[in-house]
């Protein structure tokens, strides 16, 4: 008899499976070495069960293995199906029974009962087999979750229920609309989705373009990091690459300062200050396996780190604070000359301005624009620069200290042009 169940005790075990199935869409049993066939089958069955109408199963053309992937269609864009992972926490029969009966007993806003009184009501009015210790434990759990709060009367601790959603405002229709929209877009939108589920509401108004469903899987890591940022605590991260299953991973400690987000890829990173090296590191949230909050950060160090970050951030194109290819000077200046018709291609100027992260854009001659930007690591800009292929008249990269230009960084320039040459070859041009 299988002990398979739809519900799980922790998200940790299934996170990598969900991510790998849905990010790649072609992974099958052989792509999960080190996992038993039974574990793989159970995880796969559970994921199919949670996401049934969004899952497509098919056979790989190579290896004839069975794959599952996320079926992207218009319906999918109204929600994030992976929020369902957060709705699968296992519970005991007692948990469910107490949930419904305790919240019913405390339904009236003024109702204030001790654990002992609640136990009596459960036994006398509902004929349930209840004991005081279990009831008190459940009430305290719900105080911790914020569903209940306590008031003391003499030596007796009374439990009362907290706010209902419809008590927030006389008319909650607009608030519901707002939650429908923002749960798809704002960080930790899964929290908004839980409100919609409890209010029995579904979104059929809003859609978010450039949304990345799988990143909700990191939301527990994100919660811990936000908590550390607000409590000014240092953290120890356990990091492991998603690509290499043999990778044993490594640890990193530091002061978490800010979450860096890419709107184009959906990736999120924690920017941390390393006190010993006096430097910043950014780690991808989906590669962080655990977060431990350690000692409080020293106020002076924290202030210095934040000031330092404010000063350095304008020079960070993505998440790299340091040049990967060094020349003279800590910074690199990129000068890009672009061909764009002055009359018909004004959108190119607009693109350079709106996508250029504050770089300067100048019209230097007929049908010619020059874009300049000083960054820590110019290689992070290459994908964006490649999006102007067909118009690039010249690309120059210099070392700089922020003011003075040093010699040209030919190594970096050649990296860019070598890729371009390779593209010509790939397409037989």
């Amino acid at each position: 008899m299988s002990d398979f169940h739809e519900l799980i005790k922790s998200v940790d075990k299934c996170r990598d499976y969900v991510r790998d199935f849905f990010v790649y869409g072609f992974k099958s049993r052989s792509d999960f070495p080190g996992k038993s066939a039974r574990t793989y089958d159970d995880e796969r069955r559970r994921i199919v069960s949670w996401l049934n109408e969004y899952v497509r199963e098919d056979f790989s053309e190579i290896g004839r293995s069975k794959n599952i992937s996320l079926q992207i269609d218009q319906k999918l864009l109204d929600t994030n199906p992976l929020f369902r992972v957060w709705q699968a926490a296992s519970f005991t029969d007692r948990d469910l029974i107490l949930h419904f009966f305790i919240l019913k007993i405390l339904e009236d806003k003024e109702a204030a009962y001790s654990a002992s009184e609640i136990t009596d009501i459960l036994i006398d009015e509902y004929a349930l087999d209840a004991d005081l210790q279990t009831v008190r434990r459940k009430c305290n759990e719900y105080v911790e979750e914020g569903l209940l709060y306590t008031r003391k009367e003499g030596k007796t601790l009374l439990y009362l229920r907290d706010l209902y959603f419809n008590e927030l405002s006389e008319n909650t229709t607009s608030l519901i609309d707002m939650i429908k929209c923002f749960s798809l877009d704002l960080p930790l939108g899964a929290a908004g989705d839980t409100i919609l589920s409890m209010q029995q509401e579904e979104n059929s108004i809003f859609r978010v373009k450039h949304s990345f469903p799988t990143f909700t899987l990191e939301d527990e890591i994100l919660l811990l990091l936000l908590s550390a940022i607000h409590d000014k605590r240092q953290v120890e991260l356990k990091i492991q690459s998603n690509r290499r299953s043999q990778d044993k991973g490594y640890s990193s400690t530091g002061i978490p300062l800010q979450i860096f987000v890419s709107a184009r890829s959906g990736r999120r990173f924690i920017c941390m200050y390393h006190q010993g090296r006096k430097s910043f590191d950014c780690f991808r949230l989906d590669q962080i396996k655990s977060v431990s909050l350690t000692e409080e950060a020293d106020d002076k160090v924290l202030k210095r780190a934040r000031d330092h970050l404010e000063k350095d951030r304008p020079y960070v194109w993505g998440v790299s604070f340091y040049p990967s290819v060094r020349g003279r000077g800590r910074l690199q200046k990129l000068i890009l000359t672009i061909n764009a018709d002055d009359e018909k291609e004004t959108h190119i100027y607009q693109r350079l301005v709106r996508e250029g992260e504050g770089g300067s854009v100048e019209h230097i001659a007929k049908n010619t624009l020059r874009y300049e930007k000083t960054v820590a690591d110019v290689r992070e800009m290459f994908p964006w620069i490649r999006s102007f292929i067909g118009r690039i008249k010249e690309l120059k990269i210099y070392g700089t200290d922020g003011n003075k230009l040093f010699e040209e960084n030919l190594q970096l320039e050649s990296m860019f042009y070598k890729d371009l040459e390779r593209m010509y070859r790939v397409y037989g041009l």
Partner: protein, 320 residues
């Protein structure tokens, strides 16, 4: 410390509450329907017996019919996580599109003992476009609210719209969805309108709308996404260097796609896209450089080759 993974958000709890909320006596068939509709794929195996056998003692049973012992369902108070997230929402620059200032203050007052889950400057989005919409503009707000109402009420709207050429146009459309783009930081309206060629899908940026009027006399129309033009397909080979495979899979996450492994280092990926997204997709594919090759001799492949030829012919500045 708040938990996101908690039994209080469990889908079984929500389904059980739906069952309890059903008025009067209900039969097993009704419970089965609710579990089938709102449950996970195998909830009929795992949840249904618990409810229909009354294992949780939530019902009074009489001749195979059930009545809630609780005289209906329950309301669950908001958890601290939910309250903190809501408070964060109220500080978002887009909150004013939905709520009046007074309503925001009332809700904040109700949540005054709670700290927001995060501040907006806890996050730094480094590649968002800089020309996002002005959500505080009264005209924008007015258009947004009228469209939102029209979508909910299934009314048509007449939109006065500033075209790319600077000329104003009027259109009568059937609003379908409000789409937010995280990258562009803007709202667009997805809508349908009758044209000479039949029903056509349009995408209109809200910031270009000058006025919106909701019509009360709506012609009969059924809006279906299938009315949109057929999707096109582009076939790629992805060479997994510099983590290109993972980057591509994430970047193209919101496109329908089908990927297969060719060998240890290369993958074939079919991406299905709408014609409206073609330029954006072209730019995204170019950004991968030699790590992605567009296969075939179709329209899309020609677009890429044309760009590369333009670049190759622009000798100036390219080292020999």
């Amino acid at each position: 410390m708040e938990k996101l993974f908690s039994e209080i958000y469990n889908r079984y709890f929500c389904i059980t509450n739906r069952v309890l909320s059903k008025k009067g006596r209900i039969g097993r068939a009704t419970i089965t329907d609710i579990v089938r509709r709102y449950g996970f794929g195998e909830s009929l195996i795992f949840l249904l017996p618990k409810l229909s056998n009354n294992e949780w003692e939530l019902f009074e049973e009489d001749n195979s019919s059930y009545r809630s012992k609780l005289k209906g369902g329950i309301q669950t108070p908001l958890s601290r996580l939910q309250k903190r997230w809501l408070l964060t929402l109220l500080d978002d620059k887009r909150a004013g599109l939905f709520l009046e200032d007074e309503q925001i203050s009332t809700i904040k007052e109700k949540l005054k003992d709670i700290k927001p889950l995060f501040e907006h400057n806890d996050f730094y989005c480094f590649d968002r476009f800089s020309d996002g919409d002005d959500y505080s503009d009264p005209q924008y707000k007015n258009c947004f609210r009228k469209i939102l109402s029209a979508i909910k009420e299934a009314h048509t709207v007449q939109i006065l719209y500033s075209g790319r050429d600077g000329r104003n146009r009027k259109m009568i459309v059937f609003p379908h969805r409000l789409e937010y783009s995280a990258k562009n930081d803007c709202f667009r309206l997805l809508c349908f309108a009758e044209s000479k060629k039949g029903k056509r899908k349009y995408i209109m940026r809200l910031s270009r709308m000058l006025d919106v009027n909701v019509s009360e006399n709506d012609p009969e129309i059924s809006i279906a996404e299938e009315d949109s033009p057929k999707q096109r397909k582009v076939t790629l080979t992805i060479y997994d260097e510099r983590n290109a495979l993972e980057r591509a899979m994430l970047q193209f996450a919101d496109y329908r796609k089908n990927t297969v492994r060719l060998d240890d280092n290369s993958y074939r990926c079919d991406i299905f896209y709408n014609i409206d997204d073609e330029t954006e997709l072209l730019i995204e594919l170019l950004s991968f450089g030699p790590m992605i090759k567009v296969e075939g001799n179709d329209h899309f492949s020609e677009l890429i080759k044309k760009r590369l030829l333009m670049q190759k012919n622009m000798k100036e500045g390219i080292p020999s």
